[in-house]
Amino acid sequence: MVGAIYSNWLEWLPDQLDGLFVSVQLTAAILATGLPLGVLLALGVASPAKPIRWAALVVVELGRGTPAFVILLLVYYGLPQVDVLIPAFACGVIAFGLAMGAYTSEVFRAAFGAVGKVQREAADAVGLTGFDAFRYVTLPQALRIATPALMGWAILFFQATSLCFTIAVPELMTTAYNQGSVTLDFIGAFALAGTLYASISIPASYLVSRLERRLDQQGQGARPRSRRWLRGARTPAPSEG
């Protein structure tokens, strides 16, 4: 006898919320790894030094050309074969961080290009070093341009963390699978998990589309920096950076 799809949800919800918390932690760790890697790879691909350029290109093409799931299994099962033992959570971060770095490098490359030569020239003309020009002029503007696309990738990788169920990370999907195994109510367990994924993904997608609309309307340079207005906009005071 199969009950209503949601008959066990109240009972399962606390454990699934714990699993969701792990999924969010995993996503945060993937972002913390993948986004800086994406910046580095974008810079590497644009490097005038051939060895750096080629090495970055190889990582980008392999990262984009290989399914993230394959990279995950390679890391989880492959590293112990060469006597490198790391926790499953870290395997997920390494594999998806690599994949995210490869994908977002293209986003960053386009954003750096969109900032444009004139801004780098303006930084040069006032005597900023290359590093300062990148840190204070190019990167903040590129991040603002890239933010909607990066948020899109963050949502995709949040959903992709469900693949870590296969390497026994105690994230949301693993929790749901275990609950389904015990009760044989897989539909109910996975439906609740799906609902929880959606409760994060749908508002985030809505936020991305609002961001895109806002950027389209306001155009570059017409408003304060993105991170500020994500928190609630106000025009910075003169003393602020």
């Binding site: 005038p48 004139v118 801004q119 020239e121 303006a122 930084a123 040069d124 003309a125 006032v126 005597g127 900023l128 070093t129 290359g130 300062d132 204070y136 002029v137 903040p140 503007q141 603002r144 155009g219 570059q220 340079g221 017409a222 408003r223 304060p224 920096r225 025009t235 910075p236 005071a237 003169p238 003393s239 602020e240 950076g241």
Partner: protein
């Protein structure tokens, strides 16, 4: 015409002019500067002396290489050949394997020479004040408080004190260009380069910017101005350089250039622009 600057002549061609400026060594000297992009020769062996407090206007038809020459002065475009000297010292001769000069020399050069672009090129993600404080803090090592004080002095001078907290995108074109001038001036440069600073502004907004430039010139700022504003070139400059096809075709005091141009090419150019 003011006594501020003495005649600016090709260093190779005008020993007399140089002699007349005895004891007044050029701040910046270009010697046979050329710039090519592949087979395209944009600037051809131009020499120029710029003395303290002198205002030099570079005029000529579009595509003459005026802006490129200006950008060679602060190495935004490193010259393909020829030398740029600052205070009698040839700079940026040593290049790395990519042909780039040393960062240290470039920073030294750009601390001494400020630049204002046609398109303003303010940092759009920073407030007007932060546009002014960032280079002071990072390049000159000033504290935030010192930088803001100096920034506010310049904004007040430009009549823009109330814009300090605004984003550049909220300012008019004329205001943005004045902020750009202030951003260059906060670095206390010895020379200012202006690359067609009013070309992207309507006449009314351009007049605001020209007024600021006139007051700078009257205050003794050493300036090189690439411009299509012939009245400015005639009234404010100590020396006018006419360029065409990448080369300097004539230079002299404004009354000579505008009153009795020597070359047919200069006559043709001036008659086209002055009749407009």
């Amino acid at each position: 015409m003011s006594e501020r600057g003495l005649a600016n002549r090709s260093a190779a061609e005008a020993p007399a002019a140089a002699a007349s400026a005895a004891g007044d060594a050029p701040v910046v000297r270009l010697q046979d500067v050329s710039k090519s992009f592949g087979d395209h020769h944009v600037v051809r062996e131009v020499s120029l002396d710029l003395r303290a407090h002198e205002v030099v206007s570079i005029i000529g038809p579009s595509g003459a290489g005026k802006s490129t020459l200006l950008r060679c002065i602060n190495f935004l475009e490193p010259p393909t050949s020829g030398t740029v000297s600052l205070d009698g010292r040839v700079i940026c001769q040593e290049r790395d394997r990519h042909g780039r000069p040393s960062r240290k020399e470039l920073t030294e050069l750009r601390r001494a020479i400020g630049m204002v672009f046609q398109g303003f090129n303010l940092f759009p993600h920073l407030t007007v004040m932060r546009n002014l404080t960032l280079p002071q803090e990072r390049v000159l090592g000033r504290s935030r408080a010192e930088a803001e004080q100096r920034g506010m002095e310049l904004l007040e001078r430009m009549g823009l004190a109330d814009k300090a907290g605004q984003m550049p995108g909220r300012c008019s074109g004329g205001q943005q260009q004045r902020v750009a001038i202030a951003r260059a001036l906060v670095m206390d440069p010895r020379v200012m380069l202006f690359d067609e600073p009013t070309s992207s502004l309507d006449p009314e907004l351009g007049a605001e910017v020209l007024a600021v430039m006139r007051s700078l010139a009257e205050g003794g700022m050493t300036m090189v101005v690439v411009t299509h504003e012939m009245h400015f070139a005639r009234d404010v400059s100590d020396t006018v350089v006419v360029m065409a096809d990448g080369a300097e075709i004539e230079s002299g005091r404004p009354e000579e250039i505008f009153g009795a141009p020597k070359t047919e090419r200069t006559q043709r150019f001036l008659s086209a622009v002055m009749d407009r």
